[in-house]
């Protein structure tokens, strides 16, 4: 599959930055040529002192980090999400190392515009499901909404 990056505007926006211990930093806008694909980076920021379970926590009861894109009204297709390698941490409350992410987590999603997609701007919608803890307590699982404007050009 040809990977034809067109342009990614440098400005970024922080979403859902209220009282959460997790934020998502996403591109302000993605510009994509018809028939092209582009890897779009999202940085998930975890507050110092906290961790989130990785996308593969290796425990049936733990809630994995999961980015999902529904596309919304956008004709842009979003491929598989690429997560970084998690770290195995021995936490104060764990009897064995736990697969977690801490700090800035750089994820990538492949945005693809089909050759017949009409030019214009639409919004790709995504959701980040996560569950955060520190070494003494856990916060309830939460879902953050992510909305990325995508401009399709000829």
């Amino acid at each position: 599959m040809a990977l034809l990056a067109v342009s990614l505007l440098p400005a970024q926006t922080t979403l859902n930055s209220l009282s959460s211990v997790v934020n998502v930093v996403a591109p302000e806008k993605v510009v994509l040529k018809r028939g092209a694909s582009q890897a779009v980076e999202f940085t998930i920021q975890v507050k110092t002192g906290y961790h989130v379970n990785s996308n593969k926590p290796e425990d049936e009861y733990l809630i994995p980090l999961r980015f999902t894109f529904t596309g919304g009204e956008s004709p842009v297709q979003v491929g598989e999400i690429e997560y970084p390698k998690p770290s195995m941490e021995k936490l104060a409350f764990s009897t064995k190392p736990v697969s977690v992410f801490q700090g800035d987590i750089r994820t990538k999603a492949l945005f693809k515009a089909g050759p017949n997609v009409p030019p214009g701007v639409s919004a790709v919608q995504g959701k980040l499901r996560y569950q955060a803890c520190n070494d003494r307590m856990c916060l309830p699982p939460r879902t953050l909404d992510v909305k990325i404007p995508v401009e399709i050009r000829n």
């Binding site: 211990v21 009861y61 520190n134 070494d135 003494r136 307590m137 856990c138």
Partner: protein, 175 residues
């Protein structure tokens, strides 16, 4: 899901002034919930007992450290007028909780919690959150986050020996 961001019930006073005047008693909010066998449980059923009420979830790592302690407390102090009530806060409910109970041989009663209940208890912002209720139905202590088994046991023994009243909040800071 957010269970509530209401302020904590109260904070136990500290220092010389605190010794002069005990903090006011706060009665444990009443509830009626179903247990894992489908039976209706009222907190008032436990009147006259020391009750440890633990808000937890299957996905909560620190909660899992405490569960064996609570199993031990239930075994050793049940006949002395003590009970543990675990309140499971899993969104998925019994579907995930019941297999966990079976796997971990939990010997104390587990009730199905909900957001409304958490709010009525002053806001359960994180897990584990544990309340120790005295024989007179007042909240003796609130622990937020993982604390030591000794801390719990000292309080249980003290209350079984007759102490009651006052509220103290202890534990980890919230974000």
């Amino acid at each position: 899901m957010l269970w509530s961001y209401a302020p904590n019930l109260a904070v136990g006073a500290a220092g010389p002034e605190a010794k002069k005047k005990a903090p006011p008693k706060k009665m444990a909010p009443a509830f009626t919930l179903k247990d894992s066998d489908g039976k209706t449980v009222n907190l008032s059923d436990y009147k006259g007992k020391v009750v440890l009420i633990n808000f937890w979830a299957t996905w909560c790592g620190p909660c899992k450290i405490e569960i064996p302690w609570f199993i031990d407390f239930e075994t050793r102090y049940k006949s002395k007028g003590f009970a543990v009530l675990g309140i499971a806060m899993d969104d998925e409910g019994w579907e995930v909780v019941k297999p966990y109970l079976a796997k971990n041989k939990i010997n104390y009663r587990i009730l199905g919690g909900n957001e409304k209940l958490a709010e009525s208890w002053g806001g359960v912002e994180s897990l584990p959150t544990t309340f120790i209720v005295a024989k007179d139905g007042s909240i003796y202590k609130q622990h937020v986050g993982l604390v030591s088994k000794d801390d719990y046991e000292k309080d249980i023994r003290k209350l079984l020996d007759g102490a009651a009243g006052g509220i103290a909040t202890a534990g980890a800071n919230h974000p």
